[in-house]
Amino acid sequence: MRRTGSLTAVLTCVGLLVSPAAGDAGPQRITLQTAFAPDRLRTPTTIQFGFHVLSANPGQVPSPVTKMSLDLPAGMGLATSTLGLAQCPPATLIEQGLAGCPASAQVGIGTAEAEMRVEHEILDESATVHALLGPPAGENEQVLFYVEAITPVGAQFVFPGVILPASGRYSGRLDTTIPLIPTWSEGPNVSVTSFSSTIGPRGLTYYRHLKDRFVPFHPRGIAVPAHCPRGGFPFRADFTFLDRTRATATSAVPCPAPHPFGR
């Protein structure tokens, strides 16, 4: 019997491509979804990304993801956005949760779903995801993903992502290490089957202290480049699993339709 959880972020699913790592069929299959909101050239946007994991063997729980690297399209205006005007230390986030961090440290929101096998049942777990800017990791920006699961296993955990420079078709790489999530002593690890998050202002509100009050505002998003490459804006994600297999998935946000008035 499968019991399902709730809420999954709605993503525009475009250009799906499933591709196991070269030379390795791998028992996991990955699909990657990406979108811009809004989807217009030269416009500050929110990047939406997500992935689904399936075991190649029907009815099996996939091996847990332990690493994910997401390459972002070249020319994205990450540095000209006003996301992450504050930082949240990981220790504060772990001890106090979101309430301990400034609102202007948030850079994205999302959801996750997971599975765990308990005897002959596969249980589903749902969680909310918040992305926050953490202190830099050396010379690189660090994003902290705060995941809060409620049922049937209540847990909160934090995993870091580092923004690394990239080149060629990609402007940067979000490199994350995902911890194993045990259920109970000697129990199975939870396997993430879908994960989605945004990087951008959609759904976020920052506050500015002016005189004796706090004024809400929305941060500036990540600018979409002025020119769209042939085939759309490319994303690429590489995954490593607990069983040491790897998989790669690519996706592309299609070039936006020309404005009817030529702008």
């Binding site: 020319g75 005007l85 010379e139 500036r220 480049p225 002025a226």
Partner: protein, 151 residues
């Protein structure tokens, strides 16, 4: 024949009056200038990975300045600049490390002079230090320049 040597203070260029009445450049004395500048600029266009800035520089020269910033990555920027002191322009390029911290971005690196016009057509200089702060919301930019140039 009377030899008349004129040495304008700004350029150090000497000219010699010839019997035919025409003047032609002769020996030119380049000057070394210890450059200290502070520029305050505002954005005229900022999108994607480029920001155009315009403002005033004060210090060794008081003049207009324009800067074209390109954000190469989350921690590296390049810049192309033009300053317009009286008598000409000086242009160049540079690169700097960039760190975003809170509401500001901080950068530090070096620039080099690529070319000059008018009185500064022989301008040169490398490894000129540059540092500054950019407001991430408004893109208002304060930049400090220090080094040695030859004009």
């Amino acid at each position: 024949m009377t030899l008349a040597i004129l040495i304008p203070a700004a350029t150090g260029t000497a000219s010699v009056a010839t019997p035919s009445g025409g003047a032609k450049p002769a020996a030119r004395t380049a000057r070394t200038v210890s450059l200290t500048e502070t520029g305050r600029l505002h954005s005229t266009n900022g999108s994607g990975v480029t920001i155009d800035e315009r403002g005033r520089a004060t210090g060794t020269y008081d003049c207009a300045i324009t800067v074209h910033l390109t954000i190469l990555s989350a921690n590296r920027v390049t810049a192309a600049f033009t300053v317009s002191p009286r008598g000409g322009t000086i242009s160049g390029t540079g690169s700097a490390r960039f760190v975003a911290k809170g509401a500001n971005g901080y950068f530090g690196g070096t620039i080099s002079i690529a070319r000059g016009t008018g009185s500064y057509r022989h301008a040169s200089g490398t490894n000129i230090g540059i540092s500054g702060i950019i407001d991430r919301e408004t893109f208002n930019l304060t930049v400090h320049v220090h080094g040695t140039i030859r004009v």
